[in-house]
């Protein structure tokens, strides 16, 4: 049994098609990313999976339970970190955690033990008695994560987990998600941050205009874009005629100047490098650095979004 199964999941808001016959399965212990531009249908999908929005068509099962027919049973097995940090500003960090445990039916002793564990896991101990309204955005995000983990769920849903966070908080959030997955938790996250999907996810579904256009591991998705392989070169001083030579080479698909570097797109980096070595010898150019790069997930994403846009 998979942790999450969606079959033909569709949502209309009046005439507006928000999610269009989406199908996917998330394996137990997997970090699964839902990547797409703003308004693509990511949040609507996560809301359907977490019982907040009723699908117009299709079915979804979470931890083996149909979210429409057995919502209470499904809810016992997941925690949710929504895009907005929905903590109770008037309550302290400790009381927010205790309340979260209380509505999950945990005994007072269990709630206290678990809240202490979470304060330690999320490094919130020194803020224990602070009211949530006095927390920074990053600390509030951590508290929301803590409240979602209070019942030790098997599945964790995160909607744009690092949205609006600074670099340190983002890194801590990602490290925590990885730790949770290592302990066997299934993680389903939506993001419009390609780097986040690339760094965190075992598999990624790319959703554009309400439809899934690709599902695979980040590396496999990158392999689909051979034309985006590139070589990045930098010189102490650009040799005269370099741009003309690059553009004239039949091994080069495109050339772009990125700051002090040249990015050369080629479908055959090794042949290009051979010709570059000859060129450097002839021109006695002083090479500073050279890197061969595969296509990034961003290249794949842009290509898929562009193609979906052309398709209608």
């Amino acid at each position: 049994m998979d942790a999450i199964e969606a079959e033909g999941l569709t949502k209309y808001f009046g005439e507006l098609l928000a999610v269009d016959h989406v199908n996917f399965r998330v394996k137990k212990g997997e970090i699964f990313g839902f990547l797409g531009p703003n308004g693509a249908g990511k949040t609507t999908t996560i809301r359907m999976l977490t019982t907040l929005t009723r699908p117009t068509e299709g079915t979804a099962r979470v931890a083996g339970y149909d979210v429409q027919n057995e919502p209470l049973r499904a809810k016992q097995h997941f925690g949710v970190v929504p895009e907005v940090s929905n903590v109770y500003d008037e309550l302290s960090v400790w009381n927010n955690l205790m309340f979260a445990g209380e509505i999950y039916g945990m005994s007072k002793t269990d709630r206290r033990l678990r809240s202490d564990e979470l304060l330690s896991l999320l490094a919130l101990g020194e803020h224990r008695d602070k009211k949530a309204r006095h927390l920074s955005k990053g600390l509030k995000r951590k508290l929301v994560l803590g409240m979602a983990l209070v019942n030790s769920p098997e599945i964790l849903f995160l909607d744009e987990p690092s949205s609006g966070l600074d670099v340190t908080s983002t890194r801590l959030m990602r490290d925590t998600i990885r730790q949770l997955a290592q302990r066997g938790m299934t993680v389903f996250l939506t993001t419009h941050n390609i780097e986040e999907a690339n760094l965190l996810c075992d598999r990624v579904a790319i959703i554009v205009k309400a439809r899934i256009v690709a599902i695979d591991s980040p590396e496999n998705l990158k392999m689909t874009l051979d034309a985006s392989r590139s070589v990045e070169i930098a010189f102490k001083k650009d040799p005269p005629g370099l741009q003309g030579w690059l553009k004239g080479s039949n091994r080069v698909n495109a050339v772009r100047k990125d700051g002090d570097k040249w990015k050369v797109f080629t479908s055959n980096p090794s042949e290009f490098l051979d010709s570059l070595v000859d060129y450097l010898g002839r021109e006695k150019a002083n090479l500073l650095s050279i890197n061969t790069l595969g296509p990034s997930l961003e290249d794949v994403f842009v290509s898929l979004v562009t193609n979906a846009g052309k398709g209608g």
């Binding site: 016992q76 678990r114 030790s152 098997e154």
Partner: protein, 271 residues
């Protein structure tokens, strides 16, 4: 890793415990909110005195009327303030994704309004006894009247809070549109003996009538309908309000009107 099933008790008792948790949370957060104090405390007190002062009403009429009004406004305002506020801060969704049925959430919010109204009601009763030398004909009936009335009026506020809005002002406005006219047909300012046949029909469809009448019986030992009809009337209104609250909140949730609005706004922003 702990499994969810080991950490969670799945029993109806759990749902009641969750309702109590929701009630205590609302008590901590919303009792002292300015909107709640304004519409739930100051508004009825000033309104009552603007009508009562100078009319030389006996204390057995004055205090039950003030108590009924205090509960009517106080109990119905708490949920009407809390629910749209929590929709706005998205904390309401925290309750909706928890493994508790919708009745637990609504019952918890009703309990919070009930306790607020009951506490507020004790102030005019205590003042009446301490300052005006008011005696109570039946203490058990007084307690019953306060308990039943506070619960029913709280359920009324929860029912109105089903209106899918994130602005408490929208619900307060609609609630006052109903609460204010009911004040004048419920025997608070004009005795039921003087309202005529049409007035009596209108009085019969107001929960405040039975609350005020039962309180008068508890304090002065006389009432228009008698305690049995008053209790029956209040209980019937409580059942109707709670049932309608459950139905309307479920309907609002299933209609996804709020989520649809947000989605359309997002579409417009990204277009």
């Amino acid at each position: 890793m702990d499994t969810a099933s080991s950490a969670i008790r799945i029993r109806p008792v759990r749902y009641l415990a969750a309702a109590w948790a929701v009630a205590r949370k609302d008590m901590r957060i919303y009792y002292l909110r300015p909107g709640n104090l304004m519409f739930g405390v100051l508004f009825p007190v000033f309104l009552f005195f603007s009508f009562a002062v100078g009319r030389d009403l006996p204390v057995e009429i004055l205090i039950p009327g003030l108590t009924a009004m205090a509960m009517f406004f106080g109990s119905s305002s708490t949920g009407a303030m809390a629910i749209p506020t929590e929709r706005k801060t998205k904390t309401y969704e925290r309750l909706l994704v928890a493994p508790i049925p919708p009745i637990s959430i609504l019952l918890g919010q009703t309990l919070s309004g009930f306790i607020f109204g009951a506490l507020f009601a004790s102030v005019p009763i205590a003042l009446g006894m301490a300052w005006f030398g008011m005696s109570v004909a039946s203490s058990p009936v007084l307690v019953l009247a306060i308990a039943l009335s506070s619960f029913t009026f709280s359920a009324l506020g929860i029912m109105f809070a089903a209106l899918p809005t994130e602005n408490p002002g929208d619900i307060m406005m609609l609630l006052n549109f109903v609460r204010l006219p009911l004040l004048f047909v419920s025997g608070i300012f004009i005795s039921l003996d003087d309202v005529g046949d049409v007035g009596l029909v209108l009085a019969a469809i107001s929960p405040l009538t039975y609350s005020n009448d039962l309180l008068r019986w508890a304090v002065g030992g006389t009432s228009y309908f008698g305690p049995a009809i008053d209790v029956l009337g209040i209980v019937l209104f409580a059942i109707v309000f709670l049932a309608l609250a459950l139905l309307l909140h479920e309907r609002a949730r299933k209609s996804d009107r709020m989520a649809g609005k947000r989605k359309r706004a997002k579409e417009a922003a990204s277009a």
